[in-house]
Symmetry: C2
Amino acid sequence: MRIDHIGIACHDLEEKIALFERTFELTVVAREVNEEQGVKEAMLHIADGEGGGSYIQLLEPLSADSPVGKFLARRGEGVHHVAFGVPDVSQAMEQIGAKGVRLLDERPRHGSMGSSIAFLHPKDVGGMLTELVQAAEGR
Amino acid sequence: MRIDHIGIACHDLEEKIALFERTFELTVVAREVNEEQGVKEAMLHIADGEGGGSYIQLLEPLSADSPVGKFLARRGEGVHHVAFGVPDVSQAMEQIGAKGVRLLDERPRHGSMGSSIAFLHPKDVGGMLTELVQAAEGR
């Protein structure tokens, strides 16, 4: 339905928030710590769309051995993943899984701003770590 | 105004078009060869937005020594750049350049589907090669 967000890995969340606010005149609409994923993050709103908005998501790892921490050590700062908005994440997982794409999650988990999310294996979608996002009701 | 597109570098354009069409039920709306940038490409439509649409852009290099060819050799397949839609690319270049972000283009050049585009230096925007896009009138 939409490009929900682009997740960008960074070393210093506050510095990058300031950079993106200044450069692109975006505004932070949510900040969260996601212990399960080992990140603290901020969502900067770009536009509204069908079923939810479009955002830049800035991600700072909580530790060096988290997935985003390892990504930074290996690749440096930059695009970590891309997220597509779907109407129903469970249904999308089923449909996409049936096409032979490996899912990194067996069931939906908690994403930013109350969303339900699941990740797809990057090797099965063109080398891009891909997230499916069902936005929370009313977002 | 919007996330215009995510540019994904790949070795085999036709194979990746088939993968994205099958996996995400997207449709190719434009194919082009851009000799200046050394790529052949396809745009897969995701959604419409303010001032233009949102797309996945698949990029296959025309030669190994083109920018996308070198990217593939260094990093493999995956996200090559991210593009933001702006109302006026010349004005956006001026405003963003005035904030100390280096521009890779001195003036707008031709992008996909008749758009006018310019690139920003990835080091100045969080490690992400960033494109500004002014969509062609009526797209």
